[in-house]
Each structure stands twice: as structure tokens, then as C-alpha cells.
């Protein structure tokens, strides 16, 4: 809410410095979002009267002016303008002045004659015709005869003002107005508030009923509709003070009638509308929901098809106003308007909110209705508008009022125990102090038998109970009184969820392997799923769409983390980071059905992405193994068939019949689609099942007492025979004697037949009870060889 300091001063005296005012308002709940000193752009420019005009002796186009600028001595200025004349009142930039254009003016000499400043055009003062009449005329601006010589131009132009932008919280719609803010300033500064008390003469002939009949058909959306008629309207510009107020609030002055509606809205927070009575068909106002197929053209010239849930103000023929949002073009106030119907109403906020959203129009009026206007302010605002009509002599007020409502509320009585307020605040504020604060807030409070009774006016609908009153008391009493107390109760360390503990474990394992954590958005572009080449029936295609995404790029909830990882790998690769080892621990969203009927499953997933000279399929597999090892799991590794991975360099890790991980080298086509210009490796691991494994306490196993026997085994086999199969067979054949089996070489090429490979294992055999003899070892190795032969692997001689 932008509030002009000058405007505020109409209702109370502000004697404290600006900073103090702002600080006090901040500490009572009104943050200052911005400060604009309108006067800062101009300095030392005054109104001056040309008392003498002479030709410059040495220049045909220059004239020497003697100006009365309100000082004893006239000031001499040389000007090149030709629209000046003796007796003209003009803006004079004196020596050492600043213009809004940023120009500094200093005294000097023009063709040998001293010139102590400059006469200004409207343009040089950055003025438009609407700011000051004649501002866009070529030449020096000729001022109206309404101020003495020497008057600061800022005063004339309404620039001697500071605009404070107060942030108003959603619970205080009553402060969407200058008076609302003034009331708060008065409390913060402990200064009396001067509320305008509307008085006016009723001069119009007849009765309101002679001019208009009003009917509210949908009172559920319009709890109060209030109207008056003004005859013989005299359309003219509004006075300067009103224009300056309206401009300070960021609006444009139009004419006296429209300006009065806007001024009253800004002052009281109650939006108003003026209808041109001659354009209201049948002299009938009907407040109703729109009928199917109806349309309206609003003041801004736009056409809107109307929906039946929208509230309109219609005449006998058609909708003439989109209630609370914008007036219709048809009934607009124009130069030749003679009679008007003034409307002040309360419309239901959710109705206005929806209409405003649907038509895509947010106006000063709709913004206020959405937050909620006070049902009693409706009448006050109308009275105020009529007072201004009378003061500006803008028309003749017709007797009679239209006031349609379902009953008006009386102030609510709220009784609370001060002790309970103190308990909530942890303070000992005397009950009398509480009552005094509430009274200052214009929430009449009395104390009786220790109970505090408060009358809550309708404008403070936000106050429902004790907690709300506690807040009102506290924000005025001052939050600096709150002194922190250490937390009470049993001293226990808080617990972690098992999932978070598992995550910590995973993270420490991965970071120890040189993998860095990344964080990416939870929503992705559905096209990324195409880039992965997933078939149409792949479950990862069932991504939950957002109803209102920011853009297609972030429009569905991700069902996998691979695409996000690939995007990050691409970023790093394109920025010439030579290598990367990354992981992300996040969630994937799996809908139980689409369209969504209930919350989707949120499943924990780990993704790993690598590239760089040191990386290959097996460095990736090593990390995958590390992850499973962290949970004591030993999956089987089987070939997989993900379309986005290298067909011969990808695998899945399977436990039971569940594939918990897929990983491998990125398919060159996928790499190209994601813009990754190097070999990259990616893994995705499902964690739900791993998180369920309970971590067991380590139990110490005695260190071996007897020496081990080491045997190497070089085998020749088909190249397709998986090493894992051989390893398993070795373990089975050796039984308990095998302490460790390690693959140490795989070779294909020279001396090895086509389609074959050489595989070498190193075995460590040990018995817990004795030193193994060569015979023991040989017998174990024979069993191994036999098992290998069954697999088609023979000893390599």
C-alpha cells in the first residue's frame, strides 16, 4: 500500500523524523517495502515573475529577464525562449539548482551578460500535460496565477512529498487504505487521529426512487449494496490536492467524478463506482449472476464472455459492470454525463477473486474486494464521496438512499482473561495496559472483575479470539519485551528417522569415493522421457502432470532421476570440467493411477553419473557395489536392456526377482541428445527395499591362527561365460576352505582362440583348525577344476 506522507498528514500530525515513523511502523507489523522521496529529483527551482524584459545587446535571439523570485533583489536571467512576456509567472531554476533530468544549473554569462539561472520548459521539468496544463507547449512553461513568487516548484507540482510503501499482511484488509494506515500510525506515534466526518447539503430535486430502482438478486455474493444519485453533474478536473493524492498512489486523475470514486477508495479502502444514469437501460440496476452467453465490454475496451458464476451489475437489458472488478464501457462517465448513480457495495471476496482470475484482470478495486471490505465502511465511503461532491460543487445530491442488505452486524463482544494472554506471551503485562492499548487501536475495551471485554468492529474480522487479542496487545506493547527462555523439559537428543540415517550412511560412503552430491528440481520436461527413448508402455512414462506448470520444461513430476543427472553431466561437460563423479538422493513419484486419484508414491532413489578419463563401466559398477555393500546386500548382476544405455555395457542388479538398480555406459545416441560430448556412465538405484534392511551390530570374528595357502587359477573359456558364474562355482566347490577369491586378469587376443577368453583368479584357502597341507589344497583345487570343466572352462596350459 503506497501512502503519501502529505496525505497521511490530513488525518494526523506527524512530528517525528521519517526514519522513526518507518521504524515504529515496522515494529508494529507494517513492513516498509519502499520509500520514494518525490522532492529529491528537483532542487532550488521556484516560481518567478518576469518584471522586465530587454533585448540582449549582442544577440538577436536572446532576451534579458529581471525576475521577482520572492527575494529583495530581482534575479537576472538570459533566455532564448520567445514565448515569455513581462508579467508572466514561470519556473526559474536558480543558481545551483537540480532539474529532474539530472541537470545542474549554475550561474554564468551569455554573450557577456550575467545569467543567474535558467527559465524552464515543461519538458525540462519532466512534466506531461496531465501533470500541469501547458506542460507540453513548446517554450517556457507559463504558470497559473495561484501562487506567490518564490514558491518552491515542488510544492506547486506536489513533489514535496514522500511515498511510503507499506506492506499490508493478508489479515489486515482494513489497511488497504490511507485511513487504515493512518489509524495504525496514530497508534504507533501515540497521536490523535482526525477522522473525516462527512457533512453535505442535499440539493437535488425529487427522491432517489424517481431516478433508479435497484434489486439484488444474488445476495449471497453481495451482502450489501448501497447507492445514491447525484444530478446536474458538472464534469471538470478535480482540484490539485486531490490529483496529487491520486497520483501519489500511482493512479491517473481523470475528472472530478471519477477522481472522487478513486480518492474515496484509496482513502477508505471501499471501492466505488459511478454509473452514467442516462445509459442505464430502464433506470434499473440488477445485481445478479451472469446469464449464459452474456458478454460485457469493460472500460478498457476489452470484451469478456461471462460465466454464470460471475456477478454483474446489470441494467434492464444487459450487464453494465463486472461487479467489483471493472465498470462497463457503456455506462462510463463522460464529458456530457449529467446524472450519476453512485455505488458502494460489499461483494463476497471469493466470488471477486474467481472472476478476476477468470477474466485475467486485477484492478485496485478487485484487489480490495478479494482481501475483503468492511460491510460498515460501505456507508461511510458513500457519505465521504457525497461530501466531496458537495465540497467540489460537482453536482446536486438527490435525497434518499438505496441500502440493500441482509442485516448489518453489531460489534462483537470478546471477553478474555488477561492472565491467559500473559501466559501465551510469557509476560506480566498489567490488564490496564492491555485495555489502554486496545482502546488506542479503536477496539473499545473495558475491564470488569479482572476480565477484559473488547468490542470488535466489523472491520477487524480477523480478530477471533484470545490469541488475536494477544497479538494486538503485543505488537503495540513491543516485541522487544520478549526475553528468550531456554527450552524446558527433559534433556534428550532428538531422534532421526531410519531413512535419514540410511541416507547419511550412503552419503558418507559415496563422498568417500570422490562422488559429489547434486540437487535438481523434482519436475522435468516430459520430452526428456522421449530423449531416453523409453517405449510408450514404460511405467516411467506415467508421470504426474502439474495443472499449472511454469513452463513445459518443468511440467511433470519425475519418475526417474536419470534425465536430471544427464542434464547436470551435460552442463559440466559443456563447461569443460574434465571429469565428474556425481550423485543425487531424491524421490521419484509413482502414481497409483492416472489421472491422479490419491497421493502418488514417493520413492527414494539414488542416481550416480560419471564421466572422465578414469571412468568406465567398472568404476561405475564399483560404486553400485559400494551402495549395496553399505546395506549388506549382494545382488546378482544380469544383463539389462535399457534403450538409453550401451547395449553391451549395461547391467541390472537383482535381488530376488526385483531389479534394484540399472546402470551402464550411456548410449552414444542418448549422449548426443543430451549434449554430452564424452563417454558418460549413469546408474539409478531404488532404495526403498535397501532402507528396510536393518543394520546389524558387527560381531568380532577371531583373526586366523593358521597360515593360508594361495593358489592361482588360469582358465580358458567361452567369452560369453560370465565371470560371476565362475566365481560362484568356485565358492561352491571350495566350500569352507575358501577365504577369498579374486579375479585378477581377463585377456582376449593373441594366443587365445577366437570366441574365447582367458580368465585368472587368485584363491586364498585357509582352515580355522590347522595348517593346510599341499594335499588339502590340491584336493580343493581339483574340485574347483571339475566345477570349471562343467562350465566349459579348462585350465590354461
Amino acid at each position: 500500500m503506497k501512502v503519501s506522507l502529505n496525505w497521511l498528514r490530513r488525518y494526523l500530525d506527524i512530528t517525528v523524523p521519517l526514519q522513526e515513523l518507518c521504524d515504529k511502523m515496522v515494529m508494529s507489523g507494517f513492513e516498509v517495502d519502499g520509500l520514494e522521496d518525490l522532492s529529491a529529483t528537483m532542487r532550488n527551482v521556484v516560481a518567478g515573475r518576469i518584471i522586465k524584459l530587454e533585448k540582449h545587446p549582442d544577440a538577436d535571439k536572446l532576451q534579458i529577464c529581471q525576475l521577482d523570485v520572492g527575494k529583495e533583489e530581482p534575479v537576472q536571467i538570459v533566455t532564448g525562449a520567445d514565448n515569455v512576456f513581462e508579467g508572466a509567472l514561470v519556473p526559474v531554476a536558480l543558481h545551483d539548482s537540480l532539474l529532474p533530468t539530472g541537470t545542474h544549473i549554475k550561474k554564468g554569462k551569455l554573450r557577456g551578460i550575467a545569467s543567474n539561472g535558467m527559465l524552464c520548459s515543461g519538458e525540462e521539468l519532466c512534466l506531461k500535460e496531465a501533470d500541469y496544463p501547458g506542460a507540453e507547449v513548446y517554450g517556457i512553461l507559463i504558470l497559473k496565477e495561484d501562487c506567490p513568487c518564490g514558491t518552491d516548484m515542488r510544492e506547486i507540482l506536489g513533489l514535496n512529498d514522500i511515498i511510503i510503501d507499506f506492506s499490508v499482511t493478508a489479515n489486515r484488509p482494513d489497511c488497504q487504505s490511507v485511513l487504515g494506515i493512518a489509524r495504525e500510525v496514530a497508534v504507533a506515534l501515540k497521536t490523535p487521529l482526525r477522522l473525516p466526518e462527512p457533512k453535505y447539503a442535499v440539493k437535488g430535486s425529487g427522491q432517489i426512487g424517481d431516478y433508479i430502482s435497484v434489486e439484488v438478486r444474488d445476495m449471497d455474493l453481495c451482502p450489501r449494496y448501497y447507492g445514491r444519485v447525484v444530478k446536474n453533474v458538472r464534469i471538470a478536473p478535480s482540484p490539485d490536492w486531490m490529483q496529487q493524492c491520486i497520483k501519489a498512489a500511482g493512479m491517473r486523475p481523470i475528472n472530478n467524478i471519477v477522481d472522487i470514486t478513486n480518492f474515496v477508495m484509496l482513502e477508505t479502502g471501499q471501492p466505488m463506482h459511478a454509473f452514467n444514469l442516462s445509459k442505464v437501460a430502464g433506470h434499473q440496476i440488477i445485481v445478479r449472476r451472469a446469464a449464459p452467453g452474456e458478454k460485457i465490454t469493460t472500460l478498457d475496451g476489452k470484451n469478456h464472455p461471462l460465466k454464470p458464476e460471475m456477478l454483474v451489475i446489470a441494467d434492464a437489458d444487459r450487464p453494465s459492470c463486472l461487479a467489483g472488478v471493472m465498470g462497463g464501457l457503456e455506462s462510463e462517465i463522460t464529458e456530457d454525463t449529467t446524472d450519476i448513480f453512485f455505488e458502494a457495495a460489499k461483494f463476497r471476496r471469493d466470488s471477486i477473486r474467481r472472476t478476476s482470475r477468470t477474466v485475467g484482470m486485477r484492478t485496485e478495486s478487485s484487489a480490495r474486494f478479494e482481501k475483503g471490505v468492511d460491510i460498515t465502511t460501505v456507508e461511510y465511503a458513500m457519505e465521504r464521496a457525497l461530501q466531496l461532491i458537495d465540497e467540489l460543487d460537482a453536482g446536486d445530491i438527490v435525497p434518499g438512499v438505496v441500502d440493500l442488505n441482509n442485516g448489518l452486524p453489531t460489534p462483537r463482544k470478546l471477553t478474555v482473561e488477561p492472565a491467559k494472554i500473559n501466559k501465551l506471551l510469557g509476560l506480566q503485562i498489567p490488564a490496564e495496559t492491555m485495555a489502554e492499548i486496545l482502546n488506542r487501536l479503536d477496539l473499545p475495551a473495558t475491564l470488569e472483575n479482572g476480565a477484559l471485554t473488547c468490542l470488535i468492529p466489523s472491520r477487524r474480522d480477523d480478530i477471533e479470539g484470545r490469541a488475536d487479542l494477544a497479538e494486538e496487545v503485543m505488537r503495540v506493547y513491543g516485541y522487544h519485551h520478549i526475553v528468550g527462555t531456554p527450552i524446558k523439559g527433559e534433556i534428550v537428543r532428538g531422534s532421526q528417522t531410519p531413512q535419514r540415517q540410511a541416507e547419511s550412511l550412503l552419503k558418507s560412503r559415496l563422498t568417500a569415493q570422490g562422488v559429489s552430491e547434486i540437487t535438481t528440481y523434482s519436475f522435468i520436461n516430459p520430452k526428456a522421457l522421449d530423449l531416453l527413448g523409453l517405449p510408450e508402455d514404460d511405467p516411467r512414462r506415467s508421470a504426474v502432470p502439474l495443472l499449472n506448470p511454469l513452463s513445459e520444461e518443468y511440467s511433470v513430476l519425475r519418475t526417474q532421476l536419470v534425465t536430471s543427472m544427464l542434464t547436470v553431466l551435460a552442463t559440466n561437460c559443456n563447461r569443460k570440467n574434465p571429469s565428474a563423479r556425481l550423485f543425487e538422493l531424491s524421490k521419484r513419484f509413482e502414481p497409483k493411477s492416472l489421472p491422479l486419484t490419491e497421493q502418488p508414491l514417493e520413492l527414494p532413489v539414488l542416481s550416480i553419473g560419471l564421466y572422465g578419463a578414469e571412468e568406465d563401466f567398472f568404476t561405475l559398477k564399483g560404486l553400485v557395489e559400494e551402495v549395496f555393500a553399505a546395506f549388506g546386500a549382494e545382488p546378482d548382476y544380469l544383463r539389462s536392456a535399457e534403450p538409453f544405455l550401451h547395449p553391451g555395457r549395461q547391467a541390472k542388479a537383482v535381488i530376488g526377482d526385483e531389479a534394484l538398480a540399472v546402470f551402464g555406459e550411456l548410449h552414444p545416441k542418448t549422449a548426443e541428445k543430451f549434449g554430452i560430448g564424452t563417454k558418460a556412465y549413469v546408474a539409478e538405484i531404488q532404495l526403498s527395499r535397501l532402507y528396510q534392511t536393518s543394520r546389524e551390530l558387527v560381531i568380532y570374528k577371531p583373526l586366523p591362527k593358521f597360515p593360508a595357502v594361495e593358489r592361482d587359477l588360469a582358465l580358458l573359456c567361452d567369452q560369453e561365460l560370465p565371470v560371476q558364474t565362475m566365481e560362484k562355482a568356485i565358492k561352491k566347490a571350495c566350500g569352507k576352505l575358501l577365504e577369498k577369491v579374486e579375479l585378477f586378469d581377463v585377456y582376449q587376443g593373441q594366443q587365445i582362440a577366437e570366441g574365447k577368453k582367458s580368465v585368472a583368479f587368485s584363491l586364498l584357502l585357509r582352515s580355522p583348525d590347522k595348517t593346510l597341507t599341499d594335499q588339502d589344497a590340491d584336493s580343493a583345487m581339483n574340485k574347483v577344476l571339475k566345477a570349471m570343466e562343467e562350465l566349459g572352462a579348462s585350465i590354461r596350459s
Binding site: 515494529m27 507489523g29 513492513e31 493478508a170 489479515n171 489486515r172 471469493d350 477473486r353 478479494e370 501466559k423 501465551l424 510469557g426 477471533e464 484470545r466 490469541a467 494477544a470 497479538e471 503485543m474 505488537r475 516485541y479 522487544h480 520478549i482 526475553v483 528468550g484 527462555t485 527450552i487 523439559g489 527433559e490 537428543r493 532428538g494 532421526q496 528417522t497 552419503k507 559415496l510 570422490g514 559429489s516 552430491e517 547434486i518 540437487t519 535438481t520 528440481y521 523434482s522 519436475f523 504426474v544 502439474l546 495443472l547 499449472n548 511454469l550 518443468y554 513430476l557 547436470v568 563447461r575 570440467n577 565428474a580 563423479r581 556425481l582 550423485f583 513419484f589 491422479l596 497421493q599
Partner: protein, 341 residues
């Protein structure tokens, strides 16, 4: 003979002085003490001595032998030490050369900050809980005292999945789930990811992170809230940090406050970080609204509580002076590695 032995002893002593390697030493040993060495040579002449002289010379010869042995041992020790010293000297390295290390990874800066938070609050007895990211309108709004079409819904633009399901716009949603299932005393924090339809720019992200805190018990007051937040602020910003409450509005707390801390950058002298005010806003908080408590079956006449919500992203960026929130989600390794020290 006695003279010969004495002379030999003296000769060896002198020669040992100039021995500088083990080879020369061994040669000396062979020459004098070897089987065919000089001492043996001298002793062979013992037969020529008189019986009276023999034991005396024998004793002297033994003395000389053990003395030479000892001297040679000492010399050997000395030479070995000299040799080792020379070798160590030769092995001197340029200690300014970089150390060899295995690269380690690190946590994302957001999660580093989160770990700090969790640690601080766990030490004050807060349990860590989690809630779903896809929430129902009820948990995200209605149960938090924000009915349909309430103007407070405009305070944030929410991503909807359908009429009833949405991406939670605040971790406060988790408060309700906790209060429905636990009875007071409750002391929890709920860290998590939240979503708002904000266009991406240097200070806004549609995805960000919050840590929600909730305490419900008998006799909890706003002073207790301040105590907890003071403790938190001091651990994050240093022991001298001051905490200031400013009145504000959140639908689910009453009274509601914005919480500022004394600017850690300038010590309240006024700087760019605090925009000259000496304070920086770090979180929103308040006393749990009675409607929220009773909605969860907790009697507000018996219990009271406080709640707070900290924006993790903003706290991380201000703490590390990260100029653009987008850096957090871009994951450029040159950025990430800076936090792995």
C-alpha cells in the same frame, strides 16, 4: 711383545679415526683380528716367552683384542650413522610440492547447512520427521487455518496436480500430520522440499527447501520460542548474535512474527547485506493458532505451542554469500567443489 701389542693397539686406534666406510673397517678387522691377522701373528710367538711372562702377555693380548673389538664396534656404529645421515640428506624432498591425495566428494551446500540445522535442533531434543511432498489441500491449507478462497492463499502461488492434490508450498503441512499422530509434548523439526510457482531468477526458485519446527506442550509461551531461536541463531551466526521479533502474519500462527538476526556481516553498523538496517530476516514463526491445535484434537485451553519455518536456500546463500540461487541447482562442479574443504 708387550711393546708390539701396545704399538698395534695404538696403530689401530689411529687408523680407526680415519675410517669412513664399512669396507675399510672390515679390512682393518681382517688385518688385525682375523684368523691370519696381526694379533694372531703376535700370539703365535707366545711360545717364545717365559712361563712368567705368558699369562701377563696373554691377559694383555685379550685386553687388546676386546678393546679393538669394542673400538671397531664403535667405529662401525659411527660409520653406519654417518652413512645413514648422508643417505637421509640425499633423500631430502621439496616439501613445498603438493601432497598426494585420493579425491573425495562432498555434500551439496544445501545439505551441509541442513546437517548443521539438524544437529542444532537434535541437541535441543527435536525429533526429525518427514512428510510427503505431494500433499492434499487439507494438510497444506485447510488444517493450517487457510480455508478455500482465503486471501492468504495468494501469499504463495501453489502448484496443483488436481483439485485436491498439490505440491506442498510449505513444510508446515507436516505439522498437522505430526499433531494428528502424536500427543504433546511434541518437539519436532521437519526439513523438506517445497514448491511455489515462482519464475526462476537470482533470488527465486520454484523448488526450494524449508525446515519446519514445532513445539507443543503445557505452558509454552512466545519467550520459549525466542529462547530456541536465539540458541539456533547463535550456533549459526556466532555467540554474539541478537534476535529480534517483528509482528507479521501467518494464518496458522497467532501471534505471528518475522524473526531477524543482528547482521553477522557488519555487527549492526549497517551494510549492503542488511541494507543498512543492521538486521537480516531469517525466518517466520509464531504461536500455533488455536484453530490449528483444536483441528488436530489438541485442546488449546490446555496446550500451547510454537512453530517456525526456516528457508534453507536463502540461509545457505546468505551464509556463503552465494549471489544467485540458481547456482544451487545448476550443480557445476567448480561450484560444488568450493564447499568440499
Amino acid at each position: 711383545m708387550k711393546a708390539a701389542l701396545e704399538a698395534m693397539r695404538e696403530s689401530v686406534r689411529q687408523q680407526l679415526d680415519s675410517v669412513s666406510d664399512l669396507k675399510n673397517l672390515e679390512a682393518l678387522r681382517v688385518k688385525y683380528l682375523g684368523k691370519k691377522g696381526e694379533l694372531t701373528g703376535i700370539l703365535k710367538q707366545m711360545g717364545k716367552l717365559s712361563p712368567e711372562e705368558r699369562p701377563l702377555i696373554g691377559q694383555l693380548a685379550n685386553e687388546v683384542r676386546s678393546q679393538l673389538d669394542a673400538w671397531m664396534g664403535e667405529t662401525e656404529q659411527k660409520v653406519k650413522e654417518q652413512l645413514q645421515a648422508a643417505r637421509l640428506q640425499a633423500e631430502t624432498v621439496d616439501i613445498s610440492m603438493p601432497g598426494k591425495k585420493k579425491p573425495t566428494g562432498g555434500l551439496h551446500p544445501l545439505n551441509q547447512t541442513l546437517e548443521d540445522f539438524i544437529d542444532i535442533f537434535q541437541s535441543m531434543g527435536f525429533d526429525v520427521v518427514d512428510g510427503p511432498e505431494v500433499e492434499t489441500d487439507y494438510y497444506n491449507f485447510q488444517a493450517l487455518n487457510v480455508p478455500q478462497d482465503h486471501p492468504a492463499r495468494d501469499m504463495q502461488d501453489t502448484f496443483f496436480l488436481n483439485e485436491n492434490l498439490l505440491l506442498r508450498s510449505q513444510t508446515s503441512a507436516a505439522q498437522i500430520r505430526v499433531m494428528e499422530h502424536r500427543k504433546p509434548p511434541i518437539r519436532i523439526i521437519c526439513p523438506g522440499r517445497v514448491f511455489r510457482a515462482d519464475e526462476v531468477d537470482a533470488t527465486h526458485s520454484p523448488v526450494f527447501h524449508q525446515v519446519e519446527g514445532l513445539v507443543v506442550d503445557k505452558g509454552i509461551s512466545i519467550c520459549d520460542l525466542k529462547g530456541v531461536l536465539e540458541q539456533f541463531a547463535r550456533e549459526i551466526y556466532g555467540p554474539e548474535t541478537k534476535v529480534r521479533f517483528r509482528p507479521s502474519f501467518f494464518p496458522f500462527t497467532e501471534p505471528s512474527v518475522e524473526v531477524d538476526v543482528s547482521c553477522p556481516e557488519c555487527g549492526q553498523k549497517g551494510c549492503r547485506v542488511c541494507k543498512g538496517t543492521g538486521w537480516i530476516e531469517i525466518l517466520g514463526a509464531g504461536m500455533v493458532h488455536p484453530n490449528v491445535l483444536s483441528g488436530c484434537g489438541i485442546d488449546p485451553e490446555v496446550y500451547s505451542g510454537f512453530a517456525f519455518g526456516i528457508g534453507l536456500d536463502r540461509l545457505t546463500t546468505t551464509r556463503h554469500k552465494i549471489s544467485d540461487i540458481r547456482l544451487l541447482f545448476e550443480n557445476d562442479l567448480r561450484f560444488l567443489k568450493q564447499f568440499q574443504k
